[in-house]
């Protein structure tokens, strides 16, 4: 017995393999214990505030969760690969000032400004990827550096102030709907489906879990580890850049302060969603729920008329509770399986 966790082969083991699992109600809990937290929080809110369950508020909540959710989807890739990306706190700022500034000051067409701004955002991801995979700089440090550079460039370009006026396109973007559903929510759902398929149904996704789970073994299995890691930072940066455009539409200005400090909230959403900071574990549904839960906290503060300063305190409490439930559901699952075995 070399490994401590090794389950000793006994008579209970079968040599005939089964591909389908037997139904196990704790399985859902094990995979998505967060659903419970979100539901309980929702029930409490519904009983405290009559406006909580109104369609307007729920739609509003989703709308608020959408941009955070999009960024968190990108971050999920990075963290499954056992990395971390702080630079997403700076990418929206530089994207925001460029999208407006290039139109107002350099008189480029709106589409060209957006394309250039997005490319600059993605370039930050490329720099992260190169710094981490080619130069061997620790992800935390590398992205801390690019975070600072991105924000600094945004301030330098804008002169420290918001750039106005925003072109008509952004007003239209803010109001855009498909079948009565705001475009941001549609974008989130579409991107979530794509992210889910990439993670579960492509060679890249499978390799990413392997790289995050054991990078040395991944190398030996013939996976191009550095390339995979590089792309996770590009994906995360692209998501943050897109978020920058959406933020700009919502704020109605190209501001170097856009999404300032959001990096920790994005990471919190991913981690609350069950993605392991050690890499190798995580999924899209968890990340979405994490983003929704975080937004619910802010929403609750608004609805209940609590001073907004408290939302960080409440958010902290929710993070701890979510982590606690995580511990608890694993135990529950163990108990269930042991009851079945005897």
């Amino acid at each position: 017995m070399n490994q401590m966790t090794g389950a000793p082969p006994t008579e209970t083991e079968t040599s005939t393999p089964k591909t389908r699992r037997r139904f196990d109600p704790t399985r859902l809990l094990q995979d998505q214990g967060l659903i419970i937290v979100v539901l309980i929080f929702g029930i409490i809110m519904a009983s405290l505030s009559p406006t909580f369950l109104t369609p307007t508020n729920l739609m509003n909540l989703l709308l608020q969760a959408s941009i955070l959710g999009i960024m968190a989807l990108g971050m999920t890739f990075v963290i499954i690969g056992a990395g971390i990306d702080l630079s997403v706190g700076g990418i929206p700022a530089i994207v925001s000032v460029l999208t407006i500034g290039l139109v107002v000051r350099q008189e480029l067409p709106v589409w060209a400004a957006i394309v250039i701004a997005l490319l600059v955002g993605v370039a930050v991801g490329c720099v992260n990827g190169v710094a981490i995979t080619r130069m061997g700089i620790a992800p935390l440090i590398a992205t801390l550096g690019t975070l600072s550079i991105a924000i600094g460039l945004a301030f330098a370009y804008s002169g420290g102030t918001s750039i106005v006026p925003v072109p008509e396109f952004y007003k239209a973007l803010r109001r855009a709907e498909v079948f009565g559903i705001p475009i941001n929510i549609i974008l989130l759902v579409v991107l979530a489906i794509v992210a889910h398929l990439v993670l579960t149904r492509t060679a890249f996704g499978r390799s990413l879990y392997a790289v995050g789970g054991n990078p040395q073994a991944a190398e030996m299995a013939g996976i191009r580890v550095k390339r995979i890691i590089f792309f996770t930072y590009v994906i995360s940066a692209a998501a943050a850049a897109l978020a920058g455009v959406l933020f700009t539409a919502r704020l109605g200005a190209g501001s170097p302060q856009t999404a300032s400090g959001i990096e920790l909230t994005v990471i919190a959403a991913v981690v609350i969603g069950g993605t392991s900071l050690f890499g190798g574990r995580g999924n899209v549904l968890g990340t979405l729920l994490g983003a929704v839960l975080i937004t619910m906290v802010t929403n609750a503060i608004n609805l209940l008329g609590v001073p907004t300063a408290w939302d960080r305190v409440l958010l902290g409490v929710v993070i701890l509770i979510a982590a606690l439930i995580d511990v608890f559901r694993l135990r529950l699952h163990e108990r269930w399986t042991s009851r079945k075995a005897t």
Binding site: A7, P8, T10, P17, R201, M220
Partner: protein, 505 residues
């Protein structure tokens, strides 16, 4: 050998009817163990037989569900601290020293300041020196434990046990990380501790080691202690039969039906560990690369596979020169490698067995960028049947499987891929006796299907019967290649050691 009879003395450790259950498995079902002062008592059994669980109960790590555990007639306090106070110390397979504390600090761990708050360095060193001096000469007490070789580190761990007034020392696979000379020193130390009156429980896979060292032997199978007796009454054969509960299949004989040359290694060098190594292996042939640990065998494998860059030399596979830049390029050229350090380089512990099997074959089950989960599942199911992989299901996490089953899953990777050349580095390391024979049978099957096999093994008894030729390495050089007919264990050892007095166990 210490002379102990069950009737004359009271055992230091008295375990009876110990039961430990886990969700889904019974780790210990009625285990008994009597351990006497002044004996080396070996505990043997296949992986999963319950050895680790028994040790963990005795060291207070697990609380048993039923049964009696007494130390010197007193019930064992079921906690790690409690067991330590009662005189049980464990020397683990993996090093348990704290790397950045000094040797002295590690020895007295965790009682750095027995009389208050302040750590007095000189007194601490004096206390450490007292126990350490009995075990080893001239070790610098002030150097960090990180700097120690595995063998010395282990002696420091033993000293830690002695400093805690241990009367029972448990050794869990202590020789895995040791060189030959370190092994010898450990055996001498254990004998000395036995003569000094300690009770020693020695857990090992290496049955020859056990036979050499132990006074008495207890065999475990399926969570039960099935047999205890004097070591003199046991042969390796009898231990194996008792462990497996059936006769182990004899190792397969060699394949005489060889084809064309598949791989040709021409003068490869890398640093000091690989020096101008050349050899060829034909289709269907098993070429054993033997030599002492550290002689460069693993490094040769890594170079051929592409993980380590060559300084010079060429590798040709199927008549084409291979551009070796990474493992991926080796795989593309038709080379597979089953690495020695399975946990570090082989498996993805939190992925499923299915995902572990298909990870090197994703290009084969992908269509237009999308994985075929159906092909993935089918492949896993077929591999389970063909290789007799035992696990709850193909979707169990591979980390929960025994070493032998993990190794079969890694073999399944390369069998499904179909390699021209398969390199196996210590394929039976950490694998139990029953699975060893199965793995060798599989290797032979792969050879018969036309692959060229490069087999690296430290266990000459294992690779002598299966290999067609033997390349003996010493200090990074391939000294000789011997044909099957010219080989005995003694000739290989003599060449590998360069006529030093050391011997391969």
């Amino acid at each position: 050998m210490g002379q102990v009879t069950e009737t004359t003395t009271r055992p230091v450790v008295h375990m009876e009817g110990v039961v430990k259950r886990f969700p889904g498995v019974v780790a210990l079902a009625e285990a008994d163990l009597h351990l006497y002062a002044g004996e080396v008592h070996a505990l043997v059994g296949e992986n999963g037989a319950g050895k680790s669980s028994l040790i963990k109960v005795l060291s207070g790590y697990y609380t048993p569900d039923a049964g009696l555990v007494e130390i010197d007639g007193e019930a064992l306090h079921h906690s790690v601290v409690g067991a330590r106070r009662q005189g049980v110390a464990t020397i683990h397979q993996e090093r348990q020293l704290i790397p950045d504390l000094t040797v002295a600090e590690n020895v007295v761990l965790p009682e750095w300041a027995p009389s208050g708050v302040w750590v007095r360095r000189r007194e601490l060193q004096k206390r450490a020196a007292k126990t350490l001096d009995e075990l080893i000469e001239d070790v610098d007490l002030r150097q960090p434990a990180r700097m120690l070789s595995p063998g010395v580190g282990q002696l420091v761990e033993i000293a830690r046990g002695l400093a805690q007034n241990a009367r029972v020392l448990i050794f869990d696979e202590p020789t895995t990380a040791l060189s030959l000379s370190e092994r010898e020193r450990l055996f001498e130390t254990i004998a000395r501790l036995r003569d000094a009156g300690l009770a020693i429980l020695y857990v090992s896979h290496n049955l020859e080691e056990v036979q050499r060292l132990a006074d008495r032997i207890t065999v475990m199978r399926n969570g039960r202690t099935v047999e205890t007796g004097l070591a003199d009454d046991f042969t390796v054969q009898r231990m194996v039969r008792s462990m497996v509960g059936r006769d182990v299949r004899a190792l397969p004989s060699v394949n005489e039906n060889l084809g064309e040359t598949v791989i040709s290694v021409r003068g490869i060098s890398r640093g000091r560990r690989v020096r101008d190594v050349s050899f060829e292996v034909r289709a269907g042939e098993i070429f054993a690369l033997v030599g002492l640990e550290g002689s460069g065998r693993t490094e040769v494998a890594r170079c051929i596979f592409g993980v380590d860059r060559l300084d010079s030399g060429e590798v040709w596979v199927d008549g084409k020169k291979v551009e070796l830049k990474s493992a991926a390029s080796g795989i593309a050229a038709g080379i597979g490698l089953v690495p020695e350090e399975r946990k570090r380089d082989g498996i993805f512990p939190i992925l499923t067995v299915r995902e572990n099997i298909s990870i090197s074959l994703l290009d084969r089950i992908v269509r237009f960028g999308v994985l075929s989960l159906r092909k993935d599942r089918t492949m896993a199911r077929e591999s389970f049947e063909a290789l007799d992989i035992r696990a709850g299901s193909t979707d169990s996490e591979i980390g929960t499987l025994s070493g032998g089953n993990q190794q079969k899953a890694i073999l399944a990777r390369w069998i499904n891929r179909g390699c021209s050349v398969l390199i196996l580095d210590e394929p039976t390391k950490g694998v139990d006796v029953g699975a060893k024979a199965e793995i060798y049978a599989l290797i032979k099957q792969i050879a018969e299907r036309g692959s060229a096999i490069i087999l690296i093994s430290s266990d000459l008894d294992e690779c002598l019967p299966v290999a067609n030729r033997f390349g003996v390495m010493r200090s990074g050089e391939l000294v000789t290649v011997l044909d099957r007919g010219d080989v005995t264990k003694e000739t290989i050892i003599a060449i590998a050691t360069g006529d030093h007095e050391r011997s391969v166990t």
